[in-house]
Symmetry: C2
Subunit: 333 residues, 2 copies
């Protein structure tokens, strides 16, 4: 490996390794998101699918299949499926999130976008479904239909958990699986299945994808409290302002005394937030070690992801997937 390569991020090195497959995925995305009858569909999806997507999920499927020397074409169908499901959930998340941002009074323009987001999301989900049927693997269909149910269930659970101080770490984990890990693990497991890998290898790649997704999401939620805006593209404290119960806050609430509990009830449950509250919230987290404990959990999930790979045969892609798990948490201070 040259110096240049080692300086690159693992996901860029994966993209370079898989560049031919990724080009086929991109071509298939363009072909399948078209609609003979409804030209609005590619207009709505183009900015999501074409512009700057990191393609992390398709890369997971492609890498899992190539790791076992797969030489067919079904991994490209599957990788495209996974990206379409991801894009469909992004479109539907927009509907759920945007409405909150405008404080219950969306503009007509926003509503038009909502309609398009719902229906075009449905279209992409149906197209994903058609693509995976083309693989003719009932096992793959099983994995991806289960993932789709876990994703939707996790989103509903997140709605219920919002602003609810009784949210447990168990519920948080279920939400994280729905939000991120279910599609990561389906992407890696389905890639292994399509390549004909044995049951142990399939299981190892499922475990890798699941742990990787959880590590990424916990790291994201931690950076919302202590990151710098440049690293995440989000503003520090967004989750606090949106009253989201993520792991750092769940841990701080669990350790709170009566006075602290009243603070969380006012700021999160009632939504009465004042100057200095964000800083006080962070001070309470430091007091109870909530940020350090969250960081430790993220590192532990990343380690579990790497450990799962140890069961697989030696391969450059295996090492790149391991490096990706390290990258998930290397952003943490």
């Amino acid at each position: 490996m040259s110096l240049d390569q080692s300086a690159q991020k693992p996901q860029d090195r994966l993209a370079a390794y898989l560049s031919e497959d990724l080009e086929r995925v991109d071509a298939l995305i363009r072909e399948r998101m078209a609609s003979k009858h409804a030209p609005r569909i590619p207009e709505v999806t183009a900015h999501l699918v074409e512009a700057g997507g990191k393609r992390i999920r398709p890369m997971l499927t492609l890498a899992a299949a190539r790791l076992f020397g797969y030489a067919g074409a079904h991994h490209v169908l599957l990788a495209t499926t996974v990206e379409f499901i991801h894009t469909a959930t992004l479109l539907h998340d927009d509907v759920v999130d945007e409405s909150g941002q405008r404080r219950g009074r969306p503009t007509a323009n926003l509503l038009w976008d909502n309609k398009s987001s719902v229906l075009v999301g449905d279209y992409l989900f149906a197209r994903a479904f058609q693509l995976m049927v083309e693989t003719e693997s009932l096992r793959v269909l099983d994995i991806l239909s289960d993932a789709a149910a876990t994703i939707a269930e996790g989103e509903v659970l997140q709605l219920q958990a919002a602003r609810n101080l009784a949210t447990t770490e168990e519920t948080y984990l279920q939400v994280v699986r729905g939000k991120t890990a279910a599609l990561f693990s389906a992407a890696t497991e389905a890639g292994a299945v399509i390549s004909g890998a044995d049951a142990d290898a399939q299981r190892a790649l499922y475990t890798y994808g699941d742990a990787l997704g959880i590590a990424f999401q916990i790291a994201d939620d931690l950076l919302d409290w202590q990151g710098d805006a440049g690293a995440t593209g989000k503003n520090v404290g967004d989750d606090f302002r949106e009253r989201k119960l993520t792991l750092p806050i769940i841990k701080a609430v669990a350790a709170a005394d009566a006075e602290e509990r009243a603070f969380w009830a006012r700021t999160i449950e009632k939504g009465d937030q004042r100057d200095g509250d964000l800083e006080h919230a962070r001070a309470l987290m430091e007091r109870h070690g909530a940020l350090a404990a969250t960081r430790a959990e993220a590192l532990d999930w990343a380690a579990q992801a790497r450990a799962a790979l140890a069961e697989l045969p030696a391969h450059e892609l295996r090492d790149l997937l391991g490096a990706l798990a390290e990258q998930a948490v290397s952003r943490l201070a």
Copy 2:
């Protein structure tokens, strides 16, 4: 057949014939719409799935399978699949339609419902997908994934066609297939496939379902212009007020002179509607025979549905399906 039976509507006679199967479908619906982690899901779906649904789509699947003497259990999985897909599209339609009804300013309560509608619809769609994978029939998966894509495409097309006087009868037909006929034809065709019926019989049942769905939808759209509110549960003129381009209006616009065209442009494109406009619109339709021509098309599609059945072996269910096609248009004056 007793006098009592002959006095019943065809769909009630179908329900009586299929009552045991329908009970199994209802039990499966209750079982599969539950969620271990997100109790809100059955709360949202219960009123849609349990209360007064006519179960027309599941009956189509069950009847198609039983027509060929199917004695397995997969037709119940399929019938439940079809009802879940239907319920998911209703939930997503709510989001699309309700926002308009409140003139761009939904209440917080409405927004909460929107979130739940989008996500619970996604959940039901995923559950439908799991159910059909359990049939282990790639052909059935193919039929239903194609139907899902046609449904979503039709909905987007309907958004584009709204308020657009250039909408053609061809576009209208595509919208109707997405809205109604695609799931009807998938329900009947998949029922035939699962029963092991031959290719000609599968094709005949596809044609029956497609024509039945189109006949039903054209009849609904006609009744919006000339029905009595009691028969449809809708107010006459709703589509005019909502500026929807259905078949009667498309035919009237196609035959319009310059003055009439200006009327349609003002009322439909610009949405400037005044007292007496609804009556004037109907008078224009009468002048050009648009209502009579629409009625003739509905009758023709119902006749096509019945003709398709003629290719199938004699069976009480075949006669009931034929009567259902008559019922679709018997509401028309």
